[in-house]
């Protein structure tokens, strides 16, 4: 049994979990430590309210809101300045902290392991269990260390690191282990980059990903609203310094990757493991089903594949630094004719900060739509999507069949590659633009 320190709900499943708990005559044991956001199906078009393009979507929002209020949870509602994607909002408010256990009925909860927390995604029943009892019953996970040694090449991002890992070791490679990301190329990353790396641990079939807390973590957290203050801060940091793995610690499994070997990556198929470097091609032995769905041929170079749409956002790559790097490539340029392009900030706070820097104007001048924050078109819930059969280059995490809409072909990549591809009208190496 593990004590659970923080719980997040969202409107996609919040009403089901809270409704089921209530129907069983059970209460939330400590509502002060349960938070709820509106992110999954909330509309992202400017001027939004509870209305969504998803048929019946409004009920998910209103029922979750009512249930969250009734249970006394902290709710970041549709129009709240703190609204945003759960894994963007929680770190930016300091709700997740090193050494905490945090769960949410969302597979990308592993994102928050970037702060040295044990954070993992669970189902609705487990969320109920945690709310009712303050605990979860889990088997102790096996451990794995993924060590990125050396230094990343210029123009290579944490998105490329995680895609390279999954491409080499498979979408099942994490085998349910708790994965620690370590090595010089990881400790060199800033906090937002670390979140991108940990975000896709679930695409590796890991239970979670985490990074040892260090000075980068503490400096980033200090002063955030829910982070400890004053004397508590000093005590907390002293405790956090005891958390990192011992030098020479052993793990059930270890993987070492030379960061210098990684180039910008892009997905070609319908699993994140079907990804290659931008200088590469669709593999000779690519599966027929994936090729047919994606409308590609074996041996076809990935650079130059024409695209219809581009998406920047999500819990993987919707933070301020992601938007800055994409905007820098877009500045003074326009997206190719006929390409539909959107930027959806990961949180309302990211949106405000981006607007204060003028990033919104850079995106819009280049031809991107500029949206309100949310999960948006990372997945298709029945509402908004891309044109039928569109080929989308996307800074999201999943390229599954139908993930972004029926027949939509998703190429996952870094925000830089999405920006460069939107300009070129085809999958393109962002390093060539940056030169």
């Amino acid at each position: 049994m593990v004590a659970i320190d923080r719980i997040f709900l969202h409107e996609r499943t919040g009403a089901a979990a809270l409704g089921s708990l209530k129907a069983a005559g059970r209460a939330v044991a400590d509502p002060a430590r349960v938070f709820c956001v509106m992110d999954h199906i909330v509309d992202t078009r400017p001027g939004r309210g509870d209305q969504t393009l998803m048929p019946g979507g409004q009920a998910f929002i209103t029922e979750t809101r009512a249930a969250a209020h009734e249970a006394g949870l902290t709710l970041f509602d549709v129009t709240d300045p703190d609204q945003g994607i759960v894994h963007v909002v929680s770190p930016e408010l300091g709700i997740v902290l090193p050494g905490l256990t945090l769960i949410a009925p969302d597979s990308h909860t592993c994102t928050q392991g970037a702060l040295g927390a044990l954070a993992w995604g669970i189902g609705s029943s487990e969320a109920e269990h945690a709310m009712a009892t303050g605990t979860l019953r889990i088997a102790r996970p096996h451990t794995m260390c993924v060590r990125f040694t050396g230094t990343l090449s210029v123009g290579v991002t944490p998105k490329d690191m995680i895609l390279a890992l999954i491409a080499r070791h498979g979408a099942g490679g994490g085998k349910g282990h708790a994965v620690e990301f370590a090595g010089d190329a990881v400790t060199a990353l800033d906090m937002e980059a670390r979140m991108t790396l940990c975000n896709m641990a679930t695409e590796f079939s890991a239970m979670t990903g985490m990074i040892a807390p260090d000075e980068t973590t503490y400096a980033w957290l200090k002063g955030r609203r829910y982070a400890p203050q004053g004397e508590d801060w000093t005590r907390a940091v002293a405790h956090w310094r005891t958390l990192p793995s011992d030098a020479g610690a052993t793990y059930d499994a270890e993987i070492v990757i030379d960061a210098a070997d990684i180039e910008p990556m892009v997905g070609w198929g319908t699993s994140p493991e079907q990804s290659v470097g931008i200088s590469g091609a669709v593999p000779v032995d690519a599966g027929e089903r994936a090729l047919a769905y994606m409308g590609l041929q074996a041996r076809q170079p990935v650079a130059g594949i024409p695209i219809d749409a581009a998406f920047i956002g999500s819990c993987t790559n919707g933070r301020l630094s992601d938007l800055r790097r994409a905007a820098a490539l877009l500045q003074g340029r326009s997206i190719a004719p006929g390409v539909k392009a959107l930027c959806v900030p990961g949180s309302s706070a990211v949106k405000r900060a981006a607007e204060a820097e003028g990033l919104d104007r850079m995106f819009m001048a280049a031809g991107f739509e500029w949206r309100e924050s949310g999960c948006s078109m990372c997945f298709y819930a029945g509402g908004e999507s891309f044109p039928a059969g569109a080929r989308v280059v996307s800074s999201t995490n999943r390229n599954f069949e139908g993930r972004q809409g029926p027949g939509i072909r998703t190429h996952i990549a870094s925000p830089e590659m999405v920006a460069a591809s939107a300009i070129a009208g085809m999958i393109a190496d962002p390093r060539e633009l940056a030169r």
Binding site: M1, A59, G99, T133, G172, Y380, R398, G402
Partner: protein
């Protein structure tokens, strides 16, 4: 939760690796804010001819008459990867699937199965191939942790002790945990002294 002991049934083969929960139930099919009414949306993108439609695609395995009574699925490795949506498991259970046999499972999906009376039985890919080739009824026996065929071929599978007990007895995990309420309260009182920053205000429950 309905207890599970032993099941002999036809197993429908979906022998692809990385079958994700978006495929098991597309997000657009999660139309209800509750846990029911989901079986219709099971494998919707593969099962029906058109997105959002309900005309069955005769090529899809569960639409073939032989598999109409399938209560077991045979899958590829990393079965149930992707989104944590428990709707995937609710849809399987409502449809009538009580066991999934695959070389490996995504961790969240496996956890969701055992909370809903579905046995996730991991056996090697070679065994999956033999079972699929046999095509006859398959027995999943939870007490002995085996998957077997009518001719006696049998394969052991691993399942956590607690998951097994909960499936066998149809136990409610929350009730089980409530038996330790005093221990949990004692832990939290001590933890509150050691890590005061973890708590906000007073515990109500």
């Amino acid at each position: 939760m309905t207890p599970f002991t032993r099941l002999t049934a036809i197993a429908a083969p979906l022998l692809r690796d990385n079958i994700d929960t978006d495929a098991i139930i597309p997000s657009r099919e999660m139309k209800s804010t509750g846990k029911t009414g989901l079986a219709d949306g099971l494998f919707a993108a593969w099962r029906y001819l058109k997105a959002g439609g309900r005309d069955p695609d005769p090529a899809f395995i569960l639409n073939q008459p032989y598999y109409a009574d399938a209560h077991i699925l045979l899958g590829g490795s990393n079965f149930g990867c992707g989104s944590s949506r428990e709707h995937a498991v609710w849809a399987l259970a409502e449809y009538g699937i009580s066991a999934v046999i695959a070389p490996s499972f995504a961790p969240i999906f496996a956890g969701n199965c055992t909370r809903n009376g579905i046995v996730p039985a991991p056996v090697p890919a070679t065994a999956i191939a033999e079972i699929a080739a046999d095509g006859g009824p398959v027995t999943v026996d939870l007490p002995s942790q085996t998957v077997s065929l009518a001719d006696g071929r049998s394969w052991p599978f691993e399942i956590g002790g607690e998951a097994k007990a909960m499936l066998l007895e149809g136990l409610d995990a929350i009730d089980l945990t409530f038996k330790h309420k005093a221990d949990i309260a004692a832990f939290q009182a001590a933890d509150r002294m050691a890590r005061p920053w973890v708590y906000f205000g007073d515990i109500i429950g």
